[in-house]
């Protein structure tokens, strides 16, 4: 929703611009990702949130070259890791980046590791491919990595197979695999969704600790706002294949400027003190991605919808920030309510509110 020159003054590990992904299916073409742009600040965690099917996984899979083609297709856009363009790279070039400069972990650790390979061998594989290590060297390093993800008796564990591990342990192994080559970026696609609550917390703590130690940047996909609050510096809210709001975690949680962000917030249980409010699921369902609407995707469900909303999708509006902190990313929302002439709306953080006062 912005072009590269907007990214200053921050130092970005990765930037994505105007990304579009489609899938050919029997029912027609699914427009899964529509004009998505965001920046991942170096050393920070960016959370991508949104309900199921809104295109979170497809977005990051596009960055990793993991979209199955066919039926998938990246029709537009760019994604840069530092100065390296990722979209449209040849498989061979891409394979020097995946697992090396970008690591990735997935939702279900139980099925994400090869059942017939020893844990150690699966870590060694990354080291061999990217670092050309011998098996013996690699195994030593694998043991050290298992140690780093707090798996005890690493020497013995490296010689075991995935079925001998629990889900939480396997996610630690996945993290070890992803971090084997000290990547600049770690992409975690719902890394705790399949795990027990107590284990979830352990995995998140581990990711945080490793981020402090290694300084990598993290893209964290989740639909759990509790996880966002705990982990994220920046947040991108996705709806129906588009990013509808971006901002710092405080801005998104407390000064949300898009009705969907507010709806998402009200639909999520909160254990913050004094916030014992009633849960309100968002009524209705997202639009058909075979024929995405010309206007705002949230139109049919939005309590504040106006006539223009149905006709045109707004470009992002920049919200005037009250915090005024220079190290915060800009707060932007794609909503007509941010237009200077929009009616004042209860509960929505609006631009004109600040403007009129000043």
């Amino acid at each position: 929703m912005s072009s590269p020159h907007d990214y200053a003054p921050h130092d970005y590990a990765m930037t994505v611009d105007h990304l579009e992904v489609e899938f050919d299916t029997y029912g027609g073409t699914v427009h899964a990702v529509r004009d998505v742009s965001f920046g991942l600040r170096r050393g920070k965690t960016l959370a991508i949130v949104g309900e199921s099917g809104c295109g979170k996984s497809v977005t990051v899979q596009a960055l990793m070259g993991l979209i199955p083609m066919p039926p998938g297709r990246i029709t537009r856009g760019s994604a840069k890791l530092g100065d390296t363009e990722l979209i449209g790279l040849r498989e061979r070039t891409l394979n020097r980046i995946r697992g090396n400069r970008i690591g990735m972990i997935f939702q279900d650790p139980m099925t994400s590791l090869n059942p017939t390979m020893r844990i150690g061998d699966q870590i060694v594989e990354t080291l061999r491919v990217h670092r050309g290590m011998s098996i013996r060297e690699g195994f030593k390093e694998a043991e050290r990595l298992l140690d780093r993800v707090r798996i005890s008796e690493a020497q013995e564990r490296a010689r075991q197979y995935p079925f001998e591990f629990s889900g939480g342990m396997l996610q630690r192994v996945m993290i070890a695999v992803a971090l084997a080559c000290s990547p600049e970026v770690l992409i975690a696609d719902e890394p705790t969704t399949a795990l027990d609550v107590t284990i979830q917390a352990q995995i998140l703590d581990l990711m945080q600790a490793l981020q402090r130690e290694e300084g990598m940047s993290i893209i964290l996909i989740t639909h759990d706002l509790g996880v966002v609050a705990r982990m994220a510096d920046d947040v991108a809210v996705m709806y129906a294949g588009q990013i509808v709001e971006t901002g710092s975690v405080e801005a998104i949680f407390h000064r949300g400027g898009h009705p969907y962000t507010l709806g998402l917030r009200r639909a999520t249980p909160s254990n913050a003190p004094g916030r014992a409010q009633q849960l309100e699921p968002i009524a209705g369902s997202p639009p058909d991605l075979f024929h995405p609407p010309a206007g705002c995707g949230y139109f049919a469900r939005c309590p504040h919808a106006m006539r223009i909303c149905e006709r045109r999708m707004p470009e992002p509006f920049e919200l005037t920030e009250v915090s005024g902190r220079a190290d915060e990313i800009r707060h932007r929302a794609r909503c007509w309510l941010q237009h200077a002439q929009a009616p004042r709306t209860e509960g929505v953080n609006q631009n004109d509110a600040g403007r009129e006062v000043s």
């Binding site: 993991l66 199955p68 394979n95 279900d108 099925t111 994400s112 090869n114 990354t126 491919v129 695999v177």
Partner: protein
């Protein structure tokens, strides 16, 4: 793994005992006296047999126990129709022939099935897939003697056309003699394994761990060998036991058609001539062999799949 192996071996022994008993019972239920005058060819053979099998004693338990004892010692007795030849000798001579043919056929079937199955799966719904899967249906539904005849015809034509005898049409002796019958013998199983491998490969190509391998930057060829093929081949190994059985029994027909002096042909001839000891001997031998093969395949499976080996 050791306990597992021992348990399987004990089960195997029980199975073989069951086969032996059934064979014994069947032989004694066939109408007519096995040693009736037309059958036992000479007086000396007859006397020999009577003494050996206690034929003057009651069938059960005496004859049965003698029979079991002999089988347990691996003594299959003397042929009814081939003078002065023990069944053991006959098996010892004929089995290696069948074994060579069978091994080659199993190699054809397994390698062909795995490679063709993987190829079709990776080219799903494209031309190679469509063509191979059409041939697979032919391979599964056409009986092997038809292939044998067609194969022989093709070889004759080929030899005529080139003016040289590239491949022998029948007989036994050299490696060239083995090629055509082994191919014919393995064809049906190869078709079956191709179909199995294809569906198993299709399940594996888009698994999460294959995606993980790609996300690690593993090159495509290595993804194929280490992650896809190895896991896709597991179901194929589980049916290798029955596949070996199918090829072994298929050998009966193929050995006859190609005039190969193997155990299959020996068995068919023994049945035609009602050579009781030879029938019983080869039946029990076949039974024991197949049981052993199935156990061996299970052990190999355990070696490939750690969940079985260690679980």
């Amino acid at each position: 793994m050791w306990r597992y192996t021992v348990r399987r071996l004990i089960q195997g022994v029980i199975t073989v005992w069951f086969i032996a008993t059934a064979t014994f019972a069947a032989m004694h239920m066939v109408p007519g006296d096995p040693l009736g005058s037309e059958r036992a060819t000479t007086e000396s053979i007859r006397q020999n047999l009577e003494a050996r099998y206690g034929l003057d004693k009651p069938v059960f338990p005496d004859q049965y126990l003698i029979f079991l004892g002999n089988m347990a010692r691996g003594d299959f007795g003397i042929s009814f129709t081939q003078q002065n030849r023990s069944v053991n000798d006959i098996i010892r001579e004929a089995f290696p022939v069948s074994a060579q043919l069978g091994v080659l056929a199993v190699i054809f079937a397994a390698l062909g099935g795995v490679l063709l199955g993987a190829l079709t799966a990776l080219n799903r719904n494209r031309l190679p897939d469509v063509i191979i899967m059409f041939l697979v249906i032919l391979g599964i539904s056409i009986p092997s003697f038809v292939f044998a005849a067609l194969g022989q015809l093709a070889v004759v034509r080929l030899n005529d056309w080139t003016g040289q005898s590239l491949l022998p049409v029948a007989g036994w002796g050299t490696f060239q003699h083995m090629l055509l019958p082994a191919l014919v013998l393995g064809l049906g199983t190869m078709a079956f394994l191709t179909r199995l491998m294809r569906s198993s490969m299709l399940e594996v190509v888009n698994t999460d761990y294959v995606r993980t391998a790609r996300a690690k930057g593993v090159p495509p060829l290595r993804v194929f060998w280490r992650h896809q093929l190895r896991n896709a081949v597991l179901p194929v190994i589980t049916v290798l036991g029955p596949a070996i059985a199918a090829i072994t029994t298929g050998g009966f027909v193929v050995e006859l058609v190609f005039a190969i002096p193997g155990l299959g042909r020996t068995f068919v001839e023994a049945v035609q001539q009602l050579d009781y000891t030879l029938i019983m001997g080869t039946t029990v031998f076949y039974g024991a062999f197949l049981v052993l093969m199935v156990i061996l395949v299970d052990i190999i499976y355990g070696w490939v799949d750690p969940r079985v080996r260690l679980g």
